[in-house]
Subunit: 230 residues, 2 copies
């Protein structure tokens, strides 16, 4: 029994950014086409016949938002037969992170507007995009404890307090700053630079850097990154 | 610019079973059709227009192998444009577990044979199925430490030694049996039954049972299952 399959394949991207005001943001576009015209949604679209899924994500993000991402991984494939009112569309969803100096955005093609939204101030989202976003948020929270992905939400050089604030913001927990610093530095994957930055009215702070190469050497030798707060 | 999309959607299932001889097995079918005719592959096939991805997995497993699975979760979507020599086929892969008393199999439809293979004695696999299997194996190993999915590889009632052997087999590590037992029982999710089983020539062993309902109540209250071996 052979039936013509009529399922389209799209990608959707949940892109997170961390802003200096201790707030986690997500990148949304305002749809310029039906269905859900003029409503906010995750950036995304149909995959071209000859491009990989990851290339499709990067192309759609560039077209609709102008953003280039610093970290990308596949999240989950949403395949419920009725998730799109037009026809059946499978959404392979991705989860991306953007460093603050790559925050600049510009709407184009199917998007009439693009904006960073604080996670606490989200508009109603089109399709099942709220469900996709919730899953991505959960994944980000979990991963922060066992992979050093937080560095993809900070600029290459950062004051240590930024890293602390990032963890507290995303995990929604107070942390013991002294233990956190001790633990983080004990891994040997963060380096002091010889640069200093004056933040606001506070005293100047040393800038730090994540040594990705060192981290990749360590994991080959069974190193486990783990940050836990009781 | 609108181009007709020409991508098909399939599911593939990596189904693991744990046999009494301390060996982890995977369910493979011998393909009855081209491409890769007469070669071994993961069970799977195209998704029907009106069925969910999970329903497609269960249908294909039933059709090709006769197996009903006890645990199922989505693994990863493989979408490289050239993974199928015919045309572009996206594979949404799933990861399933089967209890020993559901091991009975029977090949049909696109499969001319079906067999449980020990992971240490795998044949060469069709398509990119070895890559999919490797990812599933890695996921199973990781999950065993932070989710009680091992119970879906044992019958409902089991001697405690089976649970120990399962962990040692899958994690490929010796464990301290006394600490393991203490830790496992401390969660309060395993119950003694009043049944006793005589295994081989050894002395009769008490049978235990996983209390799934209790576990589900506990996780609502932020309970974390965690089994680690240093």
């Amino acid at each position: 029994m052979k039936i013509k399959q009529d399922i389209k394949v799209a990608i959707d991207a949940v892109v997170f950014g961390y802003e200096s005001k201790n707030s986690l943001s997500v990148l949304l576009i305002k749809r310029g086409i039906e269905p859900f015209k003029d409503e906010w949604a995750l950036p995304g679209g149909l995959v071209l016949n000859d491009e990989s899924l990851e290339d499709a994500v990067e192309r759609e993000l560039k077209e609709e938002t102008g953003v280039t991402i610093d970290y990308l991984e596949q999240l989950y494939t949403f395949g419920s037969p009725n998730r799109d009112p037009r026809n059946r569309v499978l959404a392979v969803s991705y989860f991306g992170l953007v460093k603050p100096n790559h925050f600049k955005i510009k709407a184009d093609t199917d998007a009439v507007d693009v904006q960073w939204f604080h996670l606490s101030e989200l508009p109603k989202l089109a399709f099942d995009h709220q469900q996709i976003l919730d899953m991505a948020h959960k994944r980000l929270k979990a991963k922060l404890s066992y992979e050093p992905i937080g560095f993809d939400l900070l600029n290459d050089e950062f004051p240590f307090s930024d890293l602390e604030n990032l963890y507290m913001t995303i995990l929604e927990k107070e942390i013991d700053r002294r233990n956190f610093r001790k633990k983080m530095l004990s891994f040997g994957i963060i380096e002091e630079t010889n640069k200093i930055e004056k933040i606001g009215s506070g005293r100047p702070a040393k800038l730090f850097k994540f040594n990705k190469k060192k981290f990749q050497q360590l994991i080959v030798n069974d190193f486990h990154f783990e940050i836990k707060f009781v």
